[in-house]
Symmetry: C2
Subunit: 318 residues, 2 copies
């Protein structure tokens, strides 16, 4: 069996296992065919991951499989979209059956967890690079965008921040303590906030996922909406694990570290009060929008220094 025959043998079953009614025709023809619910728009995003740049050389293939789909699916969450299917463009050096098996296992776990059906793709030989394009649907006109935030609205984030970024210091730890394990899980197995994103449709005025760091990503909302923000450092949601491990650095990590894949959003005060309890429980109010551009962070611990801007997100949409 040739190597690419083997790849097909390992990857193709994922298309069957994750099959959904939305995919009329999966891999194996010139194109895949997706049918959208009537009155819905297609929402899609592509993310490329290059070995040694977006994940460490020698990164565990099972984590890579999960993580690559989670990162892409997080963009669907930020639009309030329901997940439908994805395509995988996989460029591979020579690789072992073990590596491929583990990769497919992680990818399959993520596909099933997120409700994304493998619909098509391409496999080529070359330096390890993955491009995943995820497809979701939203009722026409209801997608959350970055540009809808108004002045004097609440700024909220989901979950807790800074853990995935802090995990980078512990990637090579062989016997992690419990708090370290918690950070590493945030890095290796990000959980895109798909249900939350859908619940925020027609409630949030703007949304983005936190991939590059809270300040950098919030800045995308603010500049797209032509406004600014005041943040309250003491309100930032920081886990006990991060406080224990990072100490005084926890606030800076929460503000600037990437890879958390939480949602950051804006919402009118009235809409916040009418949120279902279960949705409110997933969110923390961390500040308010204002007319003047820029971001001011109040209540920073002494000696905290923040970079002028967050991580340079050249991975953005071209």
């Amino acid at each position: 069996m040739g190597e690419f025959e083997l790849i097909r043998k390992l990857i193709l079953p994922l298309a069957g296992e994750t099959r959904s009614a939305a995919v009329l025709l999966g891999p194996g023809d010139d194109c895949a065919i997706q049918r959208l619910p009537a009155g819905h728009d297609l929402v899609f995003s592509v993310d490329t991951l290059v070995e040694g740049r977006h994940f460490p050389v020698g990164y565990h293939p099972r984590h890579l499989g999960w993580r690559s789909l989670a990162v892409a699916a997080s963009d669907l969450a930020a639009m309030g979209a329901e997940p439908a299917c994805f395509s995988l463009a996989l460029t591979l050096p020579e690789s072992s059956q073990d590596w491929l098996g583990e990769f497919c296992q992680g990818l399959g776990e993520a596909a099933r967890a997120f409700g994304l059906s493998l619909a098509g793709g391409d496999t080529t030989r070359g330096p390890l690079t993955l491009s995943l394009q995820v497809h979701g649907t939203v009722p026409a006109g209801q997608a959350l965008r970055r540009s809808g935030a108004g002045v004097d609205q609440l700024i909220c984030v989901s979950g807790t921040l800074g853990e995935a970024g802090a995990a980078l210091d512990y990637l090579s730890v062989l016997q992690p303590s419990e708090p370290v394990r918690q950070l590493l899980t945030r890095y290796h197995r990000p959980q895109p906030r798909l249900a939350l994103g859908q619940a925020l449709r027609s409630r949030a005025t703007a949304a983005i996922d936190v991939s590059d760091g809270l300040m950098a990503d919030l800045e995308h909302i603010l500049s797209a909406s032509g406004i600014g923000a005041d943040l309250d450092a003491s309100s930032l949601p920081i886990s006990p694990a991060l406080r224990e491990l990072a100490g005084d650095r926890a606030v800076a990590l929460a503000l600037t570290a990437g890879d958390d894949y939480e949602l950051c959003l804006t919402m009118a005060q009235d809409d916040w009060q009418q949120l279902p309890d279960a949705v409110q429980a997933e969110l923390t109010v961390i500040g308010r929008t204002r007319a003047q551009s820029g971001i001011d962070v109040n209540g920073l611990p002494p000696d905290t220094t923040l970079p002028a801007t967050g991580y340079d997100h050249f991975g953005a949409q071209p």
Copy 2:
């Protein structure tokens, strides 16, 4: 200006220049949004091109821009789809402004020629690799597939075959003769048969684009449909330029060389006779399907040897 700032500055205008009503939201948010015509399905395909594997190292960036989109769009033609938009995942080593400018020019020419709007993408640093995903639409249920061919139907191809493959021998010729120039144009500037594909909806019983060579691609139709074929070598459409340059090798090239991006399709005899003249004029009947699997080629010139199968298409959908 940072390099990735420059890339965005050069690529992003393409989104505006190629904007269509189908794209509600282009690059710059977490996702792009596409609206489909009511009663239509989404048809999509992704193709990855790796430098040194799918195009020569140092390949002219303007040709690369055109070719990469044309190759992807050809999959839409094979489904009978109307082109809508595309995404570009571009992994780049350090590159000059000249290179990027030329690449964008070729890509833009192709996008306008094919009616494909740049809707989104991702730009990353790494070894030169492109993944383009093209989106088209078809009236629900009318997409052409590989699996619909019946027994005793006509096998047709569009245009002429073998020229792009023959061009590989001339890529480094500095002052090409007129017939060589014609071959090189077929290689550098493939023309996906988009209008023809749409005209064949509800007429052709199966279709595929000739990317890997006629026999290899026809075999995909035949195996998906559970049948075989008899081809007539003397019917193969071969251009005067290829006859002049390749002599006795022309027939073998027409049967096995890739990169032509013509359509190969099957059709009932009755439907052939009712084709509009303009559509018939673009096609050549080269054989008939049969119940017995495999492909027999009748009337081969003496001493013609064909490989047992065509080029190993590991670039197929995984």
